[in-house]
């Protein structure tokens, strides 16, 4: 584990990604400790331009956009994280089950997985969100996770299937390992790097999905997220009002977070797939 980290630190891409993410995380978690105001408090008047007091001006409600951005980023990260964890766990469990058990279970799981890969997740995201009346950010995150597990499942299954027939697994079996122990010690370590990378991508896609469905007005209730901020900006005509501060920083924040995660992923990819290394 330590060794892996040491290798990762040598990848500039990974480091850049990590640094950007660290700056974002630092800012969004430290700033609200300094400025303890309520982000939904309407302190200025609508679309006040940036000033010394409010460095990113005010949004349509007269809320401090910068403070809102901090809380919004937190919500989005939370949604991305929960969605990522959910999708990864579901994908991992189904992939392992299909790959390791094989047979009928494999056929059924693979069929479902392939279907959900082809049926656009956006469609399911909309249909499920429309059908759920009260959405908290956790519910939104779970819905997103629900639609994004198939990729992980498919890859985990493929790798597990090939690992299952490897001789070290056979040796472990005839050394009396239980199935759980085999999965934990003989299979998981081999796919761990892949799963971590997939998890990072899932977080990024979770954040992007949240933004997309919030744009459609299907985001979580009673909270501020990056997608909801974009949605308010469009609904309250920030572009027409010239209030670029209501949507440009938000767009850049979404891009910065997913960019940092993508960078980390690319860096890891180059480490773990040495052929891609330049």
């Amino acid at each position: 584990m330590i060794g892996t980290l040491r290798i990762l630190i040598r990848s500039p891409k990974f480091i850049i990604g990590l640094a950007i993410l660290a700056v974002v995380l630092g800012t969004v978690f430290v700033y609200p400790m300094v400025n303890t105001a309520d982000p939904v408090e309407m302190v200025a008047s609508g679309f006040d331009p940036p000033s010394a007091q409010y460095i990113l001006g005010a949004d349509n409600f007269g809320r401090d956009t910068f403070l809102e951005l901090m809380y919004g980023t937190r919500t989005s990260l939370y949604v991305g994280l929960i969605a990522g964890v959910f999708a990864t766990v579901v994908g991992l469990v189904l992939g392992l089950a299909a790959g390791y058990i094989g047979g009928l279970a494999d056929n059924v799981i693979t069929l479902i997985t392939n279907m959900f890969i082809v049926i656009p997740s956006f469609v399911i995201l909309i249909l499920v969100s429309v059908s759920i009346n009260s959405r908290s950010s956790t519910v939104t995150a779970l819905i997103i996770g629900l639609t994004s597990w198939p990729w992980t499942a498919r890859a985990v299954r493929a790798q597990t299937t090939s690992l299952r027939n490897r001789d070290h697994v056979n040796i472990a079996k005839i050394s009396g390992y239980s199935t759980t122990k085999i999965i934990l010690f003989e299979i998981l370590p081999y796919i761990a790097s892949y799963v971590v990378m997939a998890f990072i991508l899932q977080i990024a896609s979770g954040i992007l999905s949240e933004a997309a469905i919030s744009m459609l007005g299907l985001g979580p209730y009673n909270t501020v997220s990056l997608g909801i901020m974009m949605n308010w900006a469009l609904m309250f005509e920030a572009p027409a009002a010239g209030a670029w501060w209501a949507f440009v920083p938000t767009s850049l924040m979404i891009a910065a977070i997913s960019f940092s995660l993508f960078m980390m992923n690319t860096g890891m990819d180059e480490i773990f797939n040495p052929k891609i290394r330049n």
């Binding site: 490897r166 001789d167 070290h168 056979n170 040796i171 472990a172 079996k173 005839i174 050394s175 009396g176 390992y177 239980s178 010690f185 003989e186 370590p189 081999y190």
Partner: protein, 267 residues
């Protein structure tokens, strides 16, 4: 054949099919075998003949689609954990590719410790270390240098010898060796074969070589089974088969002997 020694393993009409419906094919069909204690057996066939599938069924890694394996004259049961552990104390295997036989993420000692644990011996740390040291000594390896290393720090020959050290600890009744030397350089090959024979002498162990090399089979074994398309096409005393083969497939295999090793058998 030594009719007087006891039967340890017996296969009755073993079948293994893969796939369903129109995609179904039989990797192993209607195979019978009898392994008596002290015997060395070779199962010879080309790649795709089903010999590895058969080996896995004998080891209990694959369930036969139909047929039965008799262990010490009783139907083999692998249902409970205790059953399985009991079986694997008696029936063990060595695989072709030493590189893939190791879990890259565990240290060398884990491999040997697992064997000690399988034997359920109540030993102190010190005694365990000694046992492993002895096993490594048997295969000419320096345990104290190795035990804290990871597999990728070892050579192929060292790895395969460690696999034999495993068998040394476990002392099974039956050893299934699936092309154990095919990925080893020629000079370690002889050493390794010697170790097998030494082991057998110590424990009165049955060794089943799974191989495509009829020459090797003749050199080491008492009994030879010839396998083609999942079926045993010919069986018998090694010398008899080599001198007067009956089946055309055996004849073809014999003709190939001088050519030797066109490709590594990955099946």
């Amino acid at each position: 054949m030594n009719g007087d020694s006891s039967i340890v393993l017996e296969g009755r009409k073993l079948n293994r099919q893969f796939g369903f419906g129109r995609n179904r094919f039989f990797a192993v069909s209607d195979v019978d075998f009898v392994f008596r204690s002290g015997e060395i057996i070779s199962i010879v066939g080309e790649s795709g003949s089903g010999k590895t599938t058969l080996a896995k069924m004998i080891m209990g890694l694959l369930k036969p689609t139909s047929g039965e394996v008799m262990f010490r004259e009783n139907p083999r049961s692998l249902r409970t954990k205790a059953d399985r552990e009991e079986y694997w104390k008696s029936v063990q295997g060595i695989f072709q590719d030493p590189f893939s036989s190791f879990n890259q993420f565990s240290k060398i000692q884990t491999l040997l410790l697992d064997c000690i644990n399988l034997l359920k011996l109540k030993l102190s740390e010190e005694e365990k270390m000694n046992m492993m040291r002895e096993a490594c000594g048997f295969v000419n390896l320096e345990f104290d240098e190795l035990y804290n290393k990871y597999p990728f720090e070892l050579s192929g020959g060292q790895m395969q010898r460690l696999m034999i050290a495993r068998i040394f600890i476990l002392k099974p009744k039956v050893l299934i060796a699936d092309e154990p030397t095919s990925m080893i350089d020629a000079c370690s090959r002889a050493t390794i074969l010697d170790m097998f024979l030494k082991l057998r002498k110590q424990n009165d162990m049955i060794i089943v070589f799974i191989t495509h090399d009829l020459g090797l089979a003749y050199y080491v074994s008492d009994t030879i089974y010839i396998m083609e398309h999942g079926k045993i096409v010919e069986r018998g005393n090694a010398a008899t088969i080599l001198e007067s083969p009956v089946h055309s497939y055996t004849k073809r295999l014999l003709a190939d002997v001088p050519k030797l090793k066109e490709a590594w058998d990955l099946g």
